[in-house]
Symmetry: C2
Subunit: 343 residues, 2 copies
């Protein structure tokens, strides 16, 4: 059997593995959000559309140069290598501004098509934005296969799925509090608090039950952290934050401040808020008017109260638990800091 | 000591570690290319410019909830977590079109500034392109710390450094054969052949010496692979490749075909080739004229001959070596395929 036949044979071996890998990820992503599973569907089609699988074959035959037996590790490493490749191609295609790859659209073009008829946004920018994070998630999948501390990869998947939801919040006019909570869990709670805490705990030999207790602390606290971030993004001081106030409005992001204000604001105020979303031309005065509406509708207070409640909930999850004092004190103390911070 | 003081203290602990991590990467990147070390300099400044290090602190105190002693693993995992964060921020900033972050320019804006005065290109696109790969390399650094099979991360670093060189080839008018060889090693040989082969070999328990023998096979073969890619990119069939012919010209890429043709072409042909580089408006006829110049200057033959020589060199590196037949046959056979392939 000649080398190209072997290459073809290896391709036929690895592709069903890639296929079932993606199917598994699609099933899991469906539990997160439709935007998550759609992303993986696109990535599956892109990855399986073509490719010689030359890297995977080299990996296999590099092994075969030194050993005759088969090993499970080889297939895992091959899979990882074949996921890293489309990650690099997707980013490459954005950089090279290529429309086609393997007789089909590149990922940024495929996403651009999806957003084509949306007049509120620039489909080209949206296409590229989704392609950046779609590439990132493939790399995170590959690392999940190769890495020791998998909880961190899981958090990176979450933050990417959350980023997709966050981008979509700008154009999804029916984006609601439930979507927002999901985004806050994925983008902030899982990644900023739950994953780091659990990695540390795992390194210290914590049990499953102890990890789950830490989740009960992390999730409400992470949501409170994000609420405070959104409050600072509108009511904070630009010189402290180091970035412009009101950029969430320009990006059309429906924070809890905005969602709640839209619920109860009078018609003209409501129309005004909607006119600032996705609007690159809003002025300082426009932002001040939005701030006033958010205050007078009690929406600011609502966000602050919600954050406070979440922080109490987080603290309650660990107060009576048996944790070493140094760790516990930090966890309780830093929870309060989440709302006190101005940056 | 209250929690915010502890957070500050942990920040003071982790930042010198981040600092020396980046310094080490800068030193290594200097051996690759100036564009590589410049990228890491920018990333160092961006990462150390600000940030609360809240994730690293959570990781540490997650550990401290269950154990009192210190552990080296904690610092490594903290470092990884603090590298993943700026990776996500950099991509986020592109997506959100933010100019500022932590009182300074975002990475895409910093790169945009660097390319500002270059009239051949779109500095905004270049800025974003470099920011995509700069983010990617931070993630690769983080994975290097966390991963089992490090050779693969090393290859991902290489391919990203190579991508930077490749982007620059479009505007570096003095881009020469040496730069090109470096790009081919980084973008193709290391990533497509050397790393997968060595991962397989390591899983089979190969020695350092055996790995180095595989490098001697991989490097010339990878360069030949890239030369053939470039030949197909200009002389291949669009329906087989699945992407447009001549896109390298539009992207201003100085392949060996172009470099060699520029060396010996007559003045008007040389001027014509230069006029097609970075030119989005070139026609099929323009591409055909470039092809004719590449043929008549013997530049096509030069690339083909170079590739053939490299393949002989690759095969010679393993022919007399003691390798198991199944692996060896594939490696020798597939080397020939590199030039025969039309896709």
């Amino acid at each position: 059997m000649n080398a190209t036949t072997k290459l073809k044979q290896y391709k036929d071996n690895i592709e069903p593995i890639l296929d079932s890998f993606f199917n598994d990820k699609i099933a899991k992503a469906k539990d997160i959000d439709l935007s998550s599973s759609e992303m993986i569907e696109l990535l599956k089609e892109f990855t399986l559309r073509g490719g010689k699988r030359i890297r995977a074959a080299y990996l296999y035959y590099g092994y075969k140069c030194f050993k005759n037996n088969k090993e499970k590790e080889i297939m895992k490493a091959s899979l990882a290598v074949e996921l890293i490749h489309p990650f690099l191609l997707i980013h490459d295609d954005i950089i090279d501004q290529d429309d086609k790859r393997r007789k089909g659209p590149t990922i940024h073009k495929a996403y651009e098509q999806i957003f084509q008829n949306n007049k509120d946004i620039d489909p080209e920018h949206y296409g590229k934005s989704f392609a950046i994070i779609a590439g990132d998630i493939l790399y995170a999948f590959a690392n999940e296969i190769l890495t020791k501390i998998n909880i961190n990869n899981h958090a990176v998947h979450n933050v990417i799925y959350g980023e997709a939801l966050d981008i979509l919040s700008a154009i999804k006019t029916n984006f609601n509090k439930q979507d927002l909570e999901k985004t806050h869990y994925l983008k902030t709670a899982s990644y900023t608090i739950e994953a780091p805490l659990q990695i540390g705990a795992i390194l210290a030999g914590a049990s499953e039950q102890q990890l789950s207790m830490l989740s009960k602390y992390s999730i409400p606290l992470g949501k409170a952290f994000q609420l405070q971030d959104d409050i600072l993004g509108l009511f904070g001081k630009e010189e402290e934050l180091g970035k412009p106030i009101g950029s969430d409005l320009k990006q059309g992001k429906r924070t809890l401040l905005i969602l709640k204000a839209l619920e109860t604001a009078e018609e003209d105020d409501k129309a005004f808020i909607l006119s600032t979303l996705n609007n690159q031309l809003i002025t300082k005065e426009d932002i001040n008017r939005v701030k006033n509406i958010v205050i007078k509708t009690n929406s600011l207070k609502y966000s602050q109260d919600t954050a406070k409640k979440l922080i109490q909930q987080a603290k309650a999850a660990i107060t009576k638990q048996n944790l070493k004092p140094e760790g516990k004190e930090f966890l309780l103390g830093i929870a309060d800091y989440m709302l006190e911070r101005n940056l």
